[in-house]
């Protein structure tokens, strides 16, 4: 598919801020699954610098804004040609060894409940292939954690998500990462975009899923929220140990206050004239 992304992040400050600095990872991954045809990150009155590609293959840029400012807007626009590799991340250059992703963070720390869940998911699967086990874990998360927005926040750990049984894609992904790591499978958090033909899923256009490392295949995506592996409807941005580590934007604001955040993401099929029309 050819997917066109329009992603606007707008910060408004009740009291003007003195300064803002962000570390941004807003550029699609370089891999065979996706080719960038055009991509642009626009910001007004910002200084950009300190850019590099890290060991996980992600492109990072540093952005600073001098105040006083009462708002700051980031517009990400571009078109990406995607291919369906059944979730397998192909030709992605990275140097971090998979075993580094067996380490839990505060958000993915195991609990007794998570241990039991991992055990249940893999019951009777002693002879199964690693890929089948990964699928079983992802299915278990889909069955156990219901997709319900507003029940969790950005810092809800996997153990609490499981107790509540509800959450958004971030929470389902954290639970899946923990289950995988408990089963000896390296797992990480991936952020990106998801195209959906149906309007009701628009809130999840800015999306997150997990990648599990499977011998012989490498990193394979699992989207427990949608009970599938990422295909050509997905655009991959970057990865990390958890949502915090993988956050596409991490920032610090000095002075001012009363921040409100407005995020709008539109993903459309670039080759669908009807969709293009509707955008006008």
């Amino acid at each position: 598919m050819r997917l066109t992304v329009n992603h606007v992040t707008r910060y408004s400050f009740g009291a003007p801020i003195a300064r803002l600095i962000q570390s941004q990872r807003l550029t699609p991954s370089r891999c065979a699954n996706q080719q960038v045809q055009s991509w642009e990150v626009r910001m007004e009155g910002a200084t950009r610098g300190a850019a590099f590609r890290d060991g996980a293959g992600d492109w990072t840029e540093t952005v600073t804004v001098q105040g006083p400012r009462d708002h700051f807007e980031i517009v990400v626009e571009g078109t990406v040609e995607t291919q369906d590799f059944a979730g397998v991340l192909q030709e992605h250059r990275e140097k971090v060894p998979p075993s580094a992703y067996l380490t839990a963070t505060d958000l993915t720390r195991p609990s007794q409940g998570l241990r039991e869940l991992a055990g249940r998911a893999l019951e009777g699967m002693g002879a199964a292939t690693p890929l089948d086990r990964a699928h079983a874990l992802s299915a278990m998360v889909s069955d156990t954690v219901q997709y319900v927005p507003g029940e969790t926040d950005q810092l809800t750990p996997a153990a609490e998500v499981l107790e509540g049984g509800k959450g958004v894609c971030q929470d389902q992904t954290h639970v899946l990462i923990t289950l995988a790591q408990l089963s000896g499978i390296p797992a990480r958090y991936v952020t990106g975009y998801l195209f959906s033909a149906a309007e009701e899923h628009m809130s999840e256009a800015s999306h997150a899923w997990a990648e599990l490392h499977v011998p012989d295949l490498g990193w394979v995506g699992f989207d427990a929220s949608n009970r599938c592996c990422p295909d050509d409807r997905y655009i991959r941005l970057n990865s990390g140990f958890d949502a915090q580590d993988a956050a596409p934007i991490r920032g610090v604001v000095s002075g001012g206050g009363g921040e409100t955040l407005d995020v709008r993401v539109k993903i459309r099929d670039a080759d669908d004239p009807a969709a293009a029309q509707a955008q006008q």
């Binding site: 300190a50 990072t60 540093t62 140097k95 380490t103």
Partner: protein, 470 residues
């Protein structure tokens, strides 16, 4: 336990290193000694050096006792140490460069991968990054103990920010003030070039983007840190700025220091704060001590951070066992300094030996620190040993064992005169364009009779450490 090696008197003879000090000791009347000891204490108080050595705990404001009796090495004794320390610092740096690049030592089957990637000090954020000159640990503190005339063992490597060097410098300064004649009668290699060498070492690892005399700063967590004295002391001696996180900011490709004349670009940061606090945009988001965006400038080659974030992966207890292997693997040399022999209970045959010899060994948890969860066989009663045996049998991989070392003893001033007390040594090796080592280090001494614990929190003191010139 073997007999203690006395560094001054061996089998009734005064050893070469201490020949001149014997007369000095004999000629000093008790009242003069008491007076000098008071004078030394007053001098230490005046300079304000009151802090605990890295990781020791205890009251940071306490004055660490200074013992006036110097610890002495001859030139030939030092030569071996010097070569061994430099070799070790080189190997540790080669290991760190490899850990964050191709991991050849893992591929070669010499070090298990999980010891690296599951290590708490391993930083994913710097994988694939190559710091200037590929140096990762710029100040390597190597803790050594001695058990005989030629037997030295490395207890521990410190690759992050080893502290205590200000004691090395102040101990010398105060000895020279109090006993100037000693420094006329003995040819003692100077240590006062340490700060200058440190500054040159730091300047030599400035980023390639730096096209002028590099600006070096020391980044401190602030005056409430137990080693703040050392931070300001070193900044003073080097003639560089001592800064806190809030004095620096990131803009564009560089890191800048706020000054009265406007922003000044910073090229090299000797940081005395832990990895987790360096940059809230990369590590702990709640850190107020660091500089937001600093890791991005570092990784894009705009500033050098010393020591490199992630350097701690080389000074872990489990990795320590492999340092001799690193020396052979990276340098193709035989290790000059030995590790303390270590049995890994994870290995069945070694575990068997440990369980059969518990009353003679020191058993430690692999990831433990500060002496917790430790068994000191020779000092433990039967019940304690048996309880520990059960723990080892249950989780063998969690334990290592070492022989109880008979640390050497040096003459030390005590209430009743002069008596031998156990000592260790921490030299500070500097790694940049060159590997540099000032002749000496910090000698810690266990002031309690028979004690092997040199930590200042448990009654340890410090001594001036001499290396005699050729």
């Amino acid at each position: 336990m073997a007999e203690t090696f006395n560094e001054m008197v061996d089998q009734g003879h005064v050893r070469e290193a201490y020949r001149n000090l014997e007369k000095w000791q004999n000629d000093m009347p008790a009242d003069l000694r008491a007076m000098k000891q008071n004078e030394a204490e007053a001098l230490f108080r005046r300079v304000g050096i009151t802090f605990a050595v890295y990781g020791e705990g205890g009251d940071p404001e306490r004055l660490i006792p200074f013992d006036m009796f110097p610890r002495v090495f001859t030139a030939s004794e030092w030569r071996k140490l010097d070569r061994g320390i430099r070799q070790r610092a080189a190997a540790l740096n080669a290991f760190l460069a490899d850990v964050y690049d191709q991991r050849e030592i893992v591929r070669a089957g010499r070090v298990p991968e999980h010891l690296i990637t599951h290590n708490e000090a391993f930083e994913k954020a710097v994988v694939g990054f190559r710091p200037p000159r590929n140096v990762w640990s710029h100040i390597v503190g190597i803790d050594l103990v001695r058990t005989g005339p030629d037997q030295f063992y490395v207890l521990e490597d410190n690759c992050r920010t080893p502290s205590g060097v200000s004691y090395m410098l102040q101990n010398r300064e105060i000895m020279m003030r109090m006993f100037p004649n000693l420094f006329v009668e003995n040819r003692i290699a100077p240590v006062d070039n340490y700060a200058d060498t440190l500054r040159k070492t730091l300047a030599s690892v400035a980023p390639q983007k730096c096209d002028r005399d590099p600006t070096v700063v020391i980044l401190t967590p602030g005056q409430f840190n137990s080693a703040y004295y050392e931070h300001s002391f070193l900044a003073d001696l080097m003639g560089v700025e001592l800064v806190e996180g809030q004095d620096l900011f990131v803009e564009g490709d560089f890191c800048w220091m706020r000054t009265t004349e406007g922003p000044k670009k910073v090229d090299v940061i000797y940081r005395r704060i832990d990895d987790a606090f360096i940059d809230p945009l990369c590590f702990r988001p709640d850190s107020m001590l660091g500089v937001p965006g600093l890791m991005n400038v570092y990784r894009s080659g705009g500033v050098t951070i010393c020591s490199a974030p992630g350097a701690g992966v080389a000074d872990d207890k489990a990795i320590y066992t492999f340092v001799p292997e690193m020396i052979r693997f990276y340098l193709g040399e035989a290790p000059i300094l030995e590790n303390v022999p270590t049995w890994q209970c994870a290995k069945a045959d070694e575990c068997k030996y440990v369980l059969e010899n518990l009353s003679e060994l020191v058993v430690k948890e692999v990831h433990g620190s500060g002496g917790y969860g430790m068994l000191v066989g020779p000092k433990a009663d039967k019940a304690t040993i048996e309880a520990f045996r059960a723990k080892i049998e249950e989780r063998p991989w969690n334990y290592i064992a070492q022989p109880t070392l008979a640390l050497s003893a040096c003459p030390t001033f005590v209430e009743e005169g002069v008596a031998p007390r156990h000592v260790d040594l921490r030299p500070y090796c500097l790694v940049g364009e060159k590997i540099e080592l000032v002749p000496g280090g910090l000698t810690r001494v266990a002031l309690k009779e028979g004690s092997l614990v040199v930590n200042s929190s448990q009654g340890g003191g410090v001594k001036d450490t001499w290396v005699l010139a050729e």
